[in-house]
């Protein structure tokens, strides 16, 4: 399959009076929805700068792009979420998939106004729709990266998911996988924006905020896997914060490596740190 990045044919004879041909902006063509989504995903993988150039160029084609990018992102998050929950049971996988989709998209919704306003302040001449598209390019890239890492995740989970400490390794591993995917998403966006001579410094601060919101939102809709010692529930009540739980998770992982880990006797403690 070829990409849709169109190349302007070079004229056989050029005259002095004819201006040099201006390269046409790469386009994501109007196609039936399913084909359009696949084509968008392919362009995003092969040449994400082309998608961002299309966003920068604007035009009526931009109206369909957010939906396509959202579907790409949700597919990746949904499948990885399912595989994450699947380490416990298929039913947990089915509930974890929409939760991870909500985390990805919900965090973006919370953080997007700040990205747009501070981006404008730093000189970005883009509309709100273009800002949405740019952020969705990063999110879709993250989703597609998660999709690509899914087989690796399956192998990893199969290797470490052994009681009683496998749960902690699974959770830390999932954070690492999602962190790598998110970094790739933001890297692709920054690289493309720098190619357009755009300011990207605010993206670093925004990425840190997005990460914090994402972690906290994941905490709100937890459990994705659930501690094997506790009963399966769809949503746990709100307790402490994600940052306290992340510290506990880190300590538990360190304890399992040093051999100091002991099962907790308090049920509330066990539930409180369960992702």
């Amino acid at each position: 399959m070829s990409t849709s990045v169109t190349e302007t044919p070079t004229p056989a004879v050029s005259t002095a009076s004819t201006p040099p041909p201006v390269p046409a902006p790469p386009s994501v063509p109007a196609l039936p929805p399913s084909a359009g989504i696949l084509r968008t995903a392919e362009i995003l993988l092969r040449n994400p700068s082309a998608v961002l150039a299309q966003v920068q160029a604007g035009g009526p084609e931009l109206r369909e792009l957010p939906l396509r990018l959202t579907v790409c992102a949700l597919a990746g998050f949904g499948i990885f979420g399912f595989l994450l929950g699947f380490t416990r049971s298929p039913l947990t996988g089915l509930t974890a998939a929409p939760k991870l989709m909500l985390v990805g998209l919900g965090s973006l919704a919370v953080c997007l106004p700040a990205l747009h306003v501070y981006g404008r302040l730093l000189g970005a001449r883009i509309s709100a729709l273009q800002a949405v598209c740019e952020a969705l390019v990063a999110l879709a890239t993250t989703g597609l990266t998660l999709l690509g890492l899914a087989p690796v995740w399956l192998a990893f989970a199969n290797t470490v998911n052994h009681p009683p400490t496998g749960y902690f390794h699974i959770m830390l591993g999932s954070l690492a996988f999602m962190g790598v995917a998110a970094l790739r998403g933001i890297w692709v966006l920054m690289k493309a924006l720098r190619a357009q001579s755009r300011t990207v410094i605010h993206l670093l601060a925004w990425t840190a905020l997005y990460g914090m919101v994402g972690i906290q939102m994941a905490w709100v809709v937890r459990p994705f896997v659930g501690n094997p010692g506790s009963a399966s529930v769809v949503i746990r009540p709100l307790e402490s914060s994600a940052f306290d739980a992340a510290a506990t998770l880190w300590r538990s992982n360190v304890d399992t490596f040093t051999g100091d880990w002991r099962p907790r006797s308090s049920d509330s403690d066990t539930q409180g740190e369960s992702w």
Binding site: V110, P113, V117, Y118, L121, G123, S127, V213, S241
Partner: protein, 181 residues
Amino acid sequence: MQPSSLTALGGTHALALPSIRPLAIGIGGTALFGFVLRTAVTHEGFSLTHLGWALSLPAVTLLAWALCLPALYILWATRQPGLGASQCVHAALEAVHTLGLSLASTTPLLWFFAATAPESRISSPLAVLFTFLALLASGHAFGQALHRHGASFTGTTRIAFLVLHAVTFAQCAHGAGLSWQ
């Protein structure tokens, strides 16, 4: 060169707008942030105090500008050719607009942490950070607006005025009973 002020949002230049609109947006955004700031700091449910904070923060913003602008005009603007009091007020209006937009854009973030992590201490530093960034943004917009009127608002004068404005803002907020902790 196009100004990098936020007033160009939506493609309309700030100076082409009726002056009430940027002011209304600025006050509305600041009021929204004031409302959520109360939730973030106290973790209480809705009360009349929330409305008090929503009214106080825009009032503090306007008061800080009203206190600082005469000093800027007397000590600096009168020595700038072609820069009058109305241009200074217009620039301040743009700064209030930018402050409101900046604060409003971070309100969802602050509310999210206030609502989902009530026991955590993260909301308070975030509120301070967002306010600081918004003040910085409004100072930048003020400088850009003056620059469009032909004045060179740079260097020590700019830093001194922005520090004066920030200190006045903090003092007024303290006096009005607003707290970021």
